[in-house]
């Protein structure tokens, strides 16, 4: 187990390194720089600024320096948000983004799995067909269409919930963004659970369990559910990726102070350190989720565990 984890981490670190390297040189390829303003600065000032941030050095030296400071956990200063380091900006934005994403993921699993199980157990009924149609809708309709629609209905027409904005600790402000963000993964989870459940229920071990006289409830919860969740576990990493990209638009529509805006704004402003910091944080989250998925597989499917030992 520990051995397995170690091996995974040994793959994760080079991946992260490749991502940082590619991103570092890609953002530098973009025309323009962080000191471009609508009114051009006097050349002496630009030269001073470039010197102060080390832009006058050769690119490979800047790269080495960046890696060095990154290894010490220092993301460097932001070029556009004056007086802020990238670490501080991440510290402000990450908790909001994380809360939003974690709640959306929890909703997707907490609702999607029971719905999928229910649909599979009532295969072919109108309830099954109805939920699968809704799931098709949820997969197809993009987050940035859903959220404005929800806001239009619940926020503007009926005035039940705030349309946008953020207050620390306020649940009401989170309802619409989390709902919009969770719909696509929820639909996928429901679909995958249904498929996995149908397959598990046709397995010999389920027939055995029924033959022993176990009630349906026990068969489903104790025997069928675990193997049925394998496809869902496989979807977790893509789900996190989709929630991350979704949170970029959700934060911008609902005006939440997450870190999504820093990624796009940073890229547009050529705020090199900020963009790279975002890439590092997002990639770490994604790769970390990959590790969690692997552990889940070990728990869900004992055959993998035995194979490794």
């Amino acid at each position: 187990m520990v051995d397995f984890l170690l091996r995974r981490v040994r793959v994760a670190v080079p991946t992260l390194f490749v991502i940082v390297t590619l991103s570092f040189f890609l953002v530098r390829l973009a025309p323009g720089g962080p000191f471009d303003r609508e009114q051009a600065l006097p050349p002496e000032i630009v030269a001073n600024l470039r010197g102060a941030y080390g832009f006058d050095r050769p690119l490979w030296e800047q790269y080495a320096r960046y890696l060095g400071s990154l290894a010490r956990g220092d993301f460097g200063p932001s070029f556009r948000y004056k007086d802020f380091t990238v670490t501080e900006l991440i510290g402000q934005g990450l908790p909001v983004t994380f809360e939003l994403g974690a709640l959306a993921l929890a909703a997707a699993l907490g609702i999607g799995v029971p719905v999928g199980v229910f649909a599979a157990l009532h295969r072919g009924s109108w309830a099954d067909r109805g939920t699968m149609m809704l799931a098709a809708l949820g997969i197809a309709v993009p987050t940035f269409v859903v959220l404005p629609f929800l806001a239009l209905c619940f926020g503007i027409h009926w005035r039940w919930l705030p349309v946008a904005g953020w207050e620390p600790g306020s649940v009401r402000h989170l309802v619409l963004p989390v709902t919009a963000l969770s719909l696509t993964p929820l639909a996928y989870v429901a679909r995958l659970t249904r498929g996995g459940m149908l397959e598990a229920m046709s397995g010999a071990f389920v027939r055995t369990a029924f033959a022993k006289g176990l009630p349906l409830r026990t068969v489903v919860l104790r025997h069928a559910l675990r193997p049925a969740l394998l496809p869902v576990a496989g979807y977790l990493a893509p789900a996190v990726a989709s929630i991350m990209t979704g949170s970029l638009v959700v934060e911008s529509i609902a005006g939440l102070p997450g870190m999504g805006r820093y990624l796009v704004q940073g890229a547009l402003n050529r705020d090199y350190t900020l963009v790279l910091g975002m890439v590092v944080v997002y990639s770490t989250l994604l790769i970390g989720m990959g590790l969690v998925v692997d552990l889940l597989y070990l728990w869900l499917d004992p055959r993998i565990r035995f194979e490794r030992e």
Partner: protein
Amino acid sequence: MSGATWRDAGRRLRADRAAMVAAGLIAAVAVLAVLGPWINANGPETIDWRSVAVPPGLRGAHWFGTDRLGRDLFVRTMGGVRVSLLVGLAATVISLGIGIGYGAVAGYLGGRVDDVLMRVVEILDGLPLIFFVIFLTVIFGRDEWLLFASIGAVGWLAMARIVRGQTLSIRRREFIEAARASGAGTARIIWTHVVPNVAGPVTVYATLTIPQIMLFESFLSFLGLGVQEPRASLGTLIAEGAGEMQAAPWILLGPGICLAALLVALNVLGDGLRDALDRGGR
């Protein structure tokens, strides 16, 4: 896959009512989008000073209403649909081209070549490609064709996997051996014998790729990284509408419903196609 299998699949698809309704809807929207400029006299960038931000109605033929600048939303939305469909098709063709070539070569040659090629796909698959597309669009910014290319260049990974898997399963079959025995070269075998035989799963996957790419394009445009003003894409129109939804909800509703309906229809059609080909294919 022979002609008869395709005919059978076509018959099954025609019997699938949901898929047919979806196909009809897509065709209707596509025709409207192409004919848009001829059915409605308003220009996509002309400003109607007498009707600024009016709700949908027949006055001045503003069927979807107008935006803050008095531009007709029906014509702009249809222009956006045109852009979305074009991006969807162009980027899908690009990812098809790369994916089929890459996957067929990897699967047919096998061995060391296959190992190396698929390892590359694995590494690329592990990277959060959304960032790279964002960077690419920032670098190439205003050029729409490069936007298509960068989206398509990302979409080929899954295609390469599918084609490779299919190729692996057919490369030991008799007709490949017969082709080799009669002196056909590797390139010729891949092109005339392998590629046509993976067409089934590739068609299904391509149909399901189009809505994904359209979604991605409108996502980028929504963030302001895709299609630029004064040209409109469904994403930019939705972004505009989301900002005005309190005062002028119709700016959001027209393009939003259009995009959602198109994506749902394309997904339903893709699923129907998969079912139709799956049952007869093996």
